[in-house]
Symmetry: C2
Subunit: 208 residues, 2 copies
């Protein structure tokens, strides 16, 4: 783990107050900043160059909160979906535009996540399972529910450092939680939909 | 892209019917199997050893559907969450057990996703943001909604090959879709919660 001296040298941590020629005092503000840096590197897995940008955003007191949260969110963009073919790209982009309009989402059309979403939709169309998109609004409405929780979690804090820390941690660990919960819920839904009639042997082939 | 001959040699594709000494006929069954193999490798990114196991599961006609879907799901386990510290592990495992009981989910306690979920929760506790778990049931209920859609998508098919193909494609591309939709919905929720009063300059610092 890099030392405090290293973060000071890189300009990520503000200098402490000199209490004697050889001693500096570090206060609440330093602790908050250290927590932020560790959340970004340890949980978010961000390189130091990105951490610098986030720290810069946190220190720009003129930046409105929504913009600050946007900068933080951009550091943890979703991994790009598999490369799609060409034909389906236009159709996928149109579907994303229609979805955003239908949900009334206040987001720029060139939002990185809108671009990545179009890539995922194009991949679905390419492999011949485009009817998964019949359920796109179920996915969108579930995402709205999660986003409300995410924002409520972030809004429990006031300082820019802590809010940004929560955006990054919530997004990264939230994605992991969500992937796990989805698989558990799938397993439950599958057990209900395809029950074993009355024991491990009875009717083993019945549902086929 | 590996050739059909390669898949035949690896035992992933059944031999065609010889129509002449030098020609084999490949039918509907081969097309379905090829689609499955390509979905697993191209979309799921699975190594051939895992593809073999899935093909084996598909060919085991005695396996009940729920078990078959379970085998397919296990090939695309969620990426493990960051390594947690030790103290919080027990607490996290207890929280997962309580959640599963509270939701009434019919899943084994040692389900791989339950283990990964505990790892993610432990990481949240370790970094001092355990109150994110106040929203765990919101995440669980959103996941149930998505899992219902996932199962409905899978159940539109009857053949084991196509069902397994849909489990893998739906899970992998669905995770990607969900991550993107969550970020778009967050951006919308943030714009609503922290609006810019009436222009790019007016009230820039007001919400801070």
């Amino acid at each position: 783990m890099p030392t405090i001296k290293f973060y000071l040298r890189e300009g990520l941590l503000p200098a402490g107050e000199l209490s004697s020629p050889n001693q500096a005092h570090y206060g609440e503000r330093h602790v908050r900043r250290l927590n932020l840096i560790r959340a970004l590197t340890d949980v978010g897995g961000l390189p130091l160059a990105s951490v610098s940008k986030v720290v810069e955003a946190v220190e720009d007191l003129d930046r409105p909160v929504h913009k600050l949260l946007g900068s933080a969110a951009r550091t943890v963009d979703p991994a790009p979906a598999p490369e799609p073919g060409r034909e389906s790209g236009d159709r996928a982009r149109a579907l994303v535009g229609e979805l955003i309009a239908r949900r009334g989402w206040q987001v720029p059309g060139d939002h990185a996540a809108a671009v990545s979403l179009a890539t995922a939709l194009a991949a679905l169309l390419e492999v011949g399972h485009g009817d998964y998109l019949d359920f796109l609004d179920e996915f969108a409405s579930a995402s709205e529910q999660i986003a409300e929780a995410d924002l409520a979690f972030v809004a429990r804090r006031q300082s820019p450092e802590e809010m940004v820390e929560r955006v990054v941690i919530g997004t990264v660990l939230g994605d992991a939680m969500l992937a796990c919960l989805r698989r558990l819920a799938q397993s439950d839904a599958s057990a209900r939909r395809y029950p074993r009639p009355d024991g491990p042997e009875a009717g083993r082939t019945a549902s086929r």
